[in-house]
Symmetry: C2
Subunit: 236 residues, 2 copies
DNA sequence: CGACTGCTTGATGTTGCTCAACGTGCGTGG
DNA sequence: CCACGCACGTTGAGCAACATCAAGCAGTCG
């Protein structure tokens, strides 16, 4: 079914030249380069829950998330782990495509998401011939690495309650820019994102609810006492 | 004192052209580019324990670790955390220099280490004008990111005993290529590297000793039962 | 010798995981 | 239509893993 949708979408002629949602790197491309890109780029729409890329599969494409929200997850030696939530616009698979040939993680849409698959060789060619493009890609990777570092550090030092607080604030500020939002993931996912159990997540959320820090109605979250939440997030 | 040594070293004429320890990226540079590099590159020797770069300081240099062993550490909101141990040859500060202007972490030599400081603008220029160089840098960053991912994942899911086992195996295989080696860091550092307490580290090491998995004499480690150690590392 | 650092060991309290039970909504198949 | 399995969510009880606190020991340096 996903494959069918993929087929349909590929049929559409994608125009990169007139794409309104170019990445910073793509903005540096010249007209003739954009033509090349256009011929080696497939745009696909994924619905919430669809698997975008699969761990351990061969990868010959770079993935550009044009719109939407995606979770990056890894099947670890012990259990599933969600590494991070990323929102458009961003590239994925740069490390996988260049470093190894197989994907080191899976990506799943947690909201409807539109994605461009770009042939890795074309991508390499751009890096090779367009210094501006290369620089933008390196900047993008740098930003990603620093974000990883931060997330890693947080997770490693805080106790469960602090991590959940962190995640709630992350969704409110980084993703939805609002103190009222609909959580796009299940409690299980929330647990995997923070390396704790489903039960623990549940307990902490009800605690927050009882302490009047959060209003919770199913997946609908309202931040009632942001100051306290922030304090919990920092103190761990 | 460190500054003095820095001064002395800077006086030495560094010849990048004839450097035997070029990075994969530097190998792609043409003769004239190497001349530019030579004029914007300072080589410094750091002794064990010396601080190479400091968190929150302004950074206008890319750091190339030519020989030696370095720990990357961050002063987190809660306590000090050692992110990773890296050995030569490798670049540091790529994310810091390009993304932000300030260092996001400190680096300290844990063995005598020789380092080249390279002006970030020269570096950028190479990326701009030499596609091969840019590609190599991107490959390097990709490798780093995957390594980070792995370390992050391991640490997040395993319990203390598995992390220590992991670290021991890391030193044996990645760093010293021997089952007998001298630990280059204190128990405190070992603890910070794995996000556990000094006491916990101590206890686990003596456990390993009692179970005849490791021979321990101060900082001298001998792996006696590698199969079991590996099993502990995997099972967590 | 005394102060200090790095390391070890034991006792105690807390965190958070495991297990088990139960309610709910959703899709499938009889 | 209902019965059933299945994923999700919540709650409680018990227990293992860890951190914390406290004390002690060996080696080093002034």
């Amino acid at each position: 079914m996903i494959l069918l949708r993929l087929e349909e979408q590929n049929m559409e002629k994608v125009s990169c030249k007139f794409c309104k949602l170019k990445s910073a790197a793509a903005l540096t491309l010249k007209n003739n380069e954009l033509s090349v890109l256009e011929n080696n780029c497939a745009q696909v729409i994924f619905l919430k829950g669809d698997n975008i890329i699969r761990q351990d599969a061969l990868s010959t494409n770079v993935v550009y998330i044009k719109t939407g929200l995606v979770k990056i997850h890894i099947k670890g030696p012990i259990k599933e782990r969600i590494m991070k939530i990323v929102k458009a616009p961003t590239y994925l698979c740069l490390p996988s495509s260049f470093g190894a040939k197989i994907n080191h993680f899976s990506a799943t849409a947690i909201e409807d998401t539109s994605v461009c698959f770009i042939d890795v060789n074309v991508f390499k060619q751009f890096i090779y011939t367009n210094g501006d493009f290369a620089l933008q890609i390196i900047l993008d990777m740098s930003r990603g690495e620093l974000q990883n570092l931060h997330h890693c550090l947080n997770n490693a030092q805080k106790q469960n309650i602090g991590r959940i607080a962190d995640t709630i604030l992350f969704f409110a500020h980084e993703i939805y820019n609002s103190n009222i939002f609909e959580l796009p993931i299940s409690r299980q996912d929330l647990a995997d994102l923070n390396g704790i159990t489903r039960e623990g997540t549940s307990r902490i959320l009800t605690d927050f609810h009882n302490e009047k820090i959060l209003g919770i109605n199913g997946r609908k979250i309202t931040i009632l006492n942001e100051a306290l939440l922030r304090q919990i997030s920092v103190k761990g």
